[in-house]
Amino acid sequence: MSLEYQFFPVSHPSEGAGGKTGNWRVVRPVVGDRCIGCNACYLWCPEGTIGVKGRRAEVNYEYCKGCGVCANVCPVKAISMVSES
């Protein structure tokens, strides 16, 4: 821990600073064939864990919390929320 941190409550960017949040999920978003690559899911996802790669949206399941926002904002309903169990 740097000296700076001990005197000033300053923190610096790092991926996954909140821990691996993927295991919070009870449902997972699955992107289907209908995806048109519009990136609406990317725009609204609170975690930044979905986005278009190539032609289709992909989910980073290591951090996705399964909130379901992406499935609701998708204009073509390409995302289905599937139970983890």
Binding site: M1, V10, P13, S14, E15, G16, A17, L43, P46, V69
Partner: protein
Amino acid sequence: MAMRMVGMALGKNVAMVVVAGCSSVIQGIGPKNAYGYPVLNIAFAAGPAAASGMWRAFKQRNKDVTVVVWAGDGGTADIGFASLSGAAERNEDFIYLCVDNEAYMNSGGQRSGSTPHGAVTTTTPEGKKENKKELLFIMLDHNIPYAATASVGYPHDLMDKLRRAKEVKGFRYIQILTPDPYGWLFDPSKTAEVGKLAVQTCYWPLIEVVNGKVRISNESLHCLKKETRRPLKDFLSVQGRYKKLSEKDYEELEKFVDDLWERILSMIS
């Protein structure tokens, strides 16, 4: 959600001052954080004061860095208001973002000055009796060069405003409506939709005031006429916190919206 949009809009060379609230928790465990820029975490009342010092320090070192304060509605309307008002009056050169989820959510959902009339919170179990504090107008009365409102329901509008605010010098205030599924009692997956309903029913205006000039976003233009507004109940009925709303409370809220738009109209004519 709002934090990511801020990140996308402002790009690099940003330093953030975060006062206590849910967003202090979301960022993770120090000395690291999950946001894309360095963050100074600080006590409620000290946010605007710290930012005032910070932009000066960057300037002295010839660094072109936009300083941004990120504060909740409780931290803005109540606890942090004195130093916010002071910094606005001095026209300090930073952006102040009020992330408005209409209660003290991180400490368990107590009412704040920014909680609307009729909403149930943990300290107003029968619904709040008073109206929401009109922070936008209060900040405008400080004669600041830039003030705006936005909603996470409309990310492009929010990001456009952030980009424009970044180009303005002096004190900039943006209040972002951020629906809170746990405090407002709705399904978290509907957050974006609730943010849209607030705007469509004209409960929440999307406006921008640059050097006294008012601009209303396209999404809110229909609100200027009472007849074209979507009924307020479409926004209220999707939230559990308005369960105890009486007929009289509903009328009071409708009047609040009417008065709000009356006032905005008087600013443009």
